[in-house]
């Protein structure tokens, strides 16, 4: 289950999300970085590519859809997962168009997110 080589970035303005996911994914061997500020997260991504990005949808400043757009523009191989408490069908459709890998509604089981992330890794490998 070691995922030592997978680089994961999480951005969510609620601090608990990053703290929690760091705990969970550190333990199983991911290289994870977490941010509460989307601008800082994008700056980090500009420096080095990430395999997977987990982003909140509604954030002050740059929101999740914008994060998705910019990540895809920077590195089309990065898989983006959006986590949100309130996804309208419109935003979901928009995110689909922009190439989101998956949508996950809060609250979710950590296991569900893990599964989605494993799928994302698989799809990355398949493509490679």
């Amino acid at each position: 289950m070691s995922e030592t080589n997978t680089r994961l970035l999480v951005v969510d303005d609620e601090p608990i999300v990053g703290k929690r996911l760091k705990q969970v994914f550190d333990k199983i061997g991911f290289a994870i970085e977490t941010y509460t500020d989307s601008a800082a997260a994008l700056a980090a991504m500009a420096e080095k590519p990430f395999d997977i990005v987990v982003t909140d949808l509604k954030m002050e400043g740059i929101d999740g859809i914008e994060v998705l757009k910019r990540v895809r523009a920077m590195n089309p191989d990065t898989r983006v997962i959006i986590i949100t408490g309130y996804a309208s069908p419109d935003t979901a459709e928009l995110a689909e168009q922009e190439g989101v890998f998956a949508f996950l509604a809060k609250p979710f089981r950590l296991d569900e997110l893990k599964q989605v992330i494993y799928r994302a890794i698989e799809s990355g490998r398949a493509k490679a």
Binding site: M1, V17, Q23, K27, G29, G85, P107, F108
Partner: protein, 862 residues
């Protein structure tokens, strides 16, 4: 009130209230409505509870919206029970209104405002936590723990703090201050000015009228119970203190305070004003950048005249993998130790089975912090007499006693602990504080945890579901019957087939719990979350994979179980800086659930089993459910309500004489009108019971010879004695596809089984009641004890009163329900006439053993 009178009162109220008969299908549909609304509310509560397991990611918005849904479902349930009982329980609404208000106060973080100004530590319950602050809350938990001694005392609550703010006109400044703290970039000058103003105003604040008298009374009581001249330690207990952040040393403490109300009040004001101390506010802004509500309470405890004091860490924070613990101590009061004013002795102890001192470094302790000896109190640094300075501050016996307490508290709080202790001149050890020990392990050169874990044998992967997250290791202890719990050792891992809320008895001692069946929404799971016991449920065949006594490590995060003690995982747990349970989201949800999901109203035989006895939402739902079931039970008892035309005779290989009334899907549509065979029964729960009754040998056909004395006894019984009189009427089964209400009236005893069973676990219940018999009360009671013993072995929760047995179980998956109902069927047959044979107390154990072994023939003397 004599038990007998009470039972009569009970039976009169519940069993024999004459009521107009309503059509059965109508009543049943109303019953289903109650169940539906009840289940919706319970589901939401369970759902919220499940979020506390740590398995989920949720935010405050989730909490707010879910609370609204829950309140709406509660209102529906209350309305539905009043339809079913024809408005017999309108009092429920009155009981519910203040409960709802309380939940809203928690959502608005205003639940630290209402309550008494003073609470004894012994009085503190969970619901008082916001009122007494984190430190006092933890102390009260310790106080209820028989294995530690805590100095007696009381808390001046946050309620009083708010009262003082209002009374002294400080509220506007306080509100403004909270507001500023929550701003992203507040006006620093205004903030600082306000901080100083608040500090000054609080120091000069007048007490509310009557408070000093209340305080004097409490001090008098404390002095009366105190063996020596009383002095007090007045310490802070702020809202957030010792929760997710320790606030260690941030607030003021006053020690050796003389026991006069005025002096204690002044000391209290010093403590309260320190909420606005520059240091404390600086710290608060770091840990709560988003702001939040503030308040402070103060613990006032008897000062222990300390011979020695210090700290014990339940694991060595510098080397968490080393399995050793660390003690530091000095002579006199511990304040000098925590503030680093005196040199201390250092001891390192091994955590193995036999305690041992691994390392001992003694300091020259020339000074100690001791009472001045003045009536005005106070402490001062004083010279230690020559010859004592070099001696260890603790002898080996006390060291080992301290080590045992530390290990116990670590198991109790499920995390390594940082414990303040003090030793009185008689050599009695007191615990002053226990808080989570923060450990940070250096990341440098650390191989990844996941790689290290590959060296351990994995007993189970993707094992079951998480009822409570966490990691625990210890020797395996199998629990097969509830009696096993009495032997449960400190720090063991509880392994059992089924989950049971009875395990709460040992949760403080358990390192983890693993069951083969069960759900993360069961009562046991809720209790695990409250007590933070790592728990996996639904792990198939675990009993065959581990043997009692062997060490295992349960990782209830990644759902894995390892053979042996996985030190790396335990270290990982101890060094993870984030204690999830202390995050604001978790604490808010937990506060709400405390007022919602706790079940106080357990026993329908108790006098408080009425709307006024309900303290939580769950109590209300429990009352509603029980009332609804009894409504049906009563209906089944009342011959007037059973339309003869509906009742159909069963044709069974045994002479059970049962009439069945089908209210929907209980009998195959093509079954004959009369003499219905077993094969035509479609009701899931009824079929399971019949299966048990028909089990070879379970239903003995022979008639028991009843002695002349027994016969005389039952004939002499006064007609008013409704509990042992003869019951007349048929054996009636009211059934639907998913429900059975079975009333047996066998001569002199009366037996009810009410069960609901389908594929949604949460809906499933079994209610069993057994009463009476033809023999004298001693024999009847023995049979009741026998039945209770057997039902307990099958994880029922059981109450007995004389010859009355009430047992319940539920929240089981359908297959477990059917298995349990099958057992009940056998039990009915087995115990039918058994009271006759209950000639001595040994018979109880003998027959229970026989039944559990499947030896049903013993009844017929075979």
């Amino acid at each position: 009130m004599a038990l007998r009178d009470f039972l009569k009162g009970f039976s009169a109220q519940r069993w024999f209230t004459p009521k107009a008969c309503r059509p059965l299908p109508l009543v049943f549909s109303q019953f289903r409505e109650v169940l539906k609304a009840n289940n919706q509310a319970l589901e939401i509560i369970a759902d919220m509870g499940e979020k506390l397991s740590g398995e989920y990611l949720f935010d405050l918005r989730y909490v707010e919206s879910t609370v609204e849904e829950m309140i709406a479902a509660m209102r529906r349930a209350i309305a539905a029970i009043n339809v079913l009982t024809q408005d017999q329980h309108t009092a429920l609404q009155e009981v519910f209104t203040p409960m709802e208000a309380r939940i809203r106060a928690i959502l608005n973080k205003r639940d630290d405002r209402d309550g008494p100004p003073l609470l004894w530590l012994t009085e503190i319950e969970d619901r008082h936590w916001p009122l007494v602050g984190g430190k006092a809350a933890h102390l009260s938990e310790l106080l209820h723990n028989p294995q530690v001694r805590v100095p007696e005392g009381f808390v001046i609550t946050a309620g009083l703090f708010h009262e003082i703010l209002d009374l002294n006109g400080i509220r506007p400044e306080f509100d403004r201050f909270e507001q500023l703290l929550s701003e992203h970039l507040p006006d620093e000058e205004a903030l600082e000015a306000l901080r100083c103003l608040l500090q000054e105003k609080v120091l000069r604040a007048e007490p509310p009228p009557g408070f000093l008298a209340t305080l004097a009374e409490a001090l008098q009581q404390l002095a009366a119970d105190s063996p020596r001249a009383l002095f007090l330690a007045v310490r802070s207990s702020a809202q957030e203190e010792d929760m997710d952040f320790s606030f260690a040393g941030q607030f003021h403490s006053e020690l050796q305070v003389p026991p006069q109300a005025e002096a204690v009040y002044r000391a209290y004001l010093q403590v309260a004003a320190s909420l606005f101390g520059a240091k404390a506010i600086g710290y608060r802004r770091q840990v709560f950048p988003e702001g939040g509500t503030m308040s402070i309470a103060a613990c006032c405890q008897r000062m222990i005249p300390a011979k020695a004091s210090g700290i014990i860490y339940s694991i060595d924070p510098m080397d968490p993998g080393s399995q050793s613990m660390v003690v530091v101590g000095a002579l006199g009061q511990g304040q000098a130790v925590v503030e680093g004013q005196v040199p201390t002795d250092f001891f390192r102890l091994g955590r193995g089975e036999a305690p041992q001192v691994i390392e001992r470094v003694l300091a020259a302790k020339h000074e100690a912090l001791l009472p001045t000896g003045n009536a005005e109190g106070g402490l001062a640094m004083q010279a230690v007499p020559n010859g004592q300075a070099g001696a260890p501050c603790l002898d080996e016996r006390i060291l080992f006693e301290l080590a045992a307490v530390a290990i116990h508290l670590e198991t109790f709080f499920k995390r390594p602990q940082d414990i303040e202790w003090t030793l009185d001149p008689q050599g009695i050890l007191y615990i002053l504080q226990s808080r989570p020990l923060l450990i940070t392990e250096s990341e440098k050169g650390k191989p990844r945890l996941s790689e290290k874990l590959e060296d351990y044998e994995l007993i189970a992967a993707d094992a079951g579901r998480v009822a409570q997250q966490g990691i625990g290791a210890g020797p395996v202890f199998w629990v097969e019957t509830l009696a096993d719990l009495k032997e449960f050792p400190e720090g063991a891992v509880l392994i059992s087939h089924r989950d049971s809320s009875q395990y709460v008895q040992v949760m403080h001692r358990a390192a983890a719990i693993v069951t083969e069946v069960g759900s993360p929404t069961s009562h046991m799971a809720t209790l695990c979350r409250e007590l933070r016991v790592p728990c996996l449920v639904g792990v198939p065949d675990i009993l065959t994979k581990v043997v009692p006594g062997e060490e295992i490590t349960v990782d209830a995060e990644d759902r894995r179980i390892y053979r042996g003690r996985v030190v790396e995982l335990l270290t990982y747990q101890a060094t993870t800086s984030m204690d999830l349970h202390m995050a604001p989201e978790f604490r808010m949800l937990r506060r709400i659930l405390r007022n919602v999901s706790r079940l106080n109203l357990v026993d329908p035989l108790m006098q408080d089993f009425r709307p006024e006895g309900c303290k939580t939402f769950h109590d209300v739902l429990r009352f509603i459910h029980e009332t609804a079931v009894l409504e049906l039970v009563e209906l089944g008892r009342d011959d007037r309500c059973l339309p003869g035309g509906l009742a159909r005779r069963l044709e069974l290989p045994i002479q059970a004489g049962i009439l069945a009334i089908d209210i929907g899907g209980g009998i195959a549509p093509d079954a004959p009108r009369d003499a219905i065979p077993f094969a035509a029964i479609r009701s899931i729960p009824f079929r399971a019971i019949l299966q048990g009754m028909l089990f070879p040998g379970a239903w003995h056909q022979e008639t028991m010879p009843v002695s002349f004395r027994d016969m005389m006894h039952s004939m002499m019984t006064t007609p008013q004695d409704t509990l042992s009189g003869q019951y007349t009427g048929h054996n009636i089964a009211i059934i639907s596809e998913t429900y059975v209400n079975l009333c047996f009236r066998f001569g002199y005893h009366f037996n009810i089984i009410d069960a609901f069973c389908h594929d949604v676990e949460r809906d499933n219940h079994i209610y069993f009641r057994f009463l009476g018999g033809a023999t004298d009360i001693a024999k009847r009671s023995r049979r009741a004890t026998l039945i209770a013993t057997i039902l307990e072995a099958f994880d029922f929760s059981v109450k007995t009163r004389g010859d009355l047995v009430i047992a319940r179980t539920g929240n089981l998956v359908q297959s477990e329900m059917e298995r349990t109902l099958d057992i009940l069927g056998r039990l009915i047959g087995f115990t039918r006439q058994l009271d006759v044979q209950m000639t001595d107390d040994q018979a109880v154990a003998r027959y229970a053993e026989a039944f559990l072994m499947g030896d049903y023939g013993v009844v017929a003397g075979k």
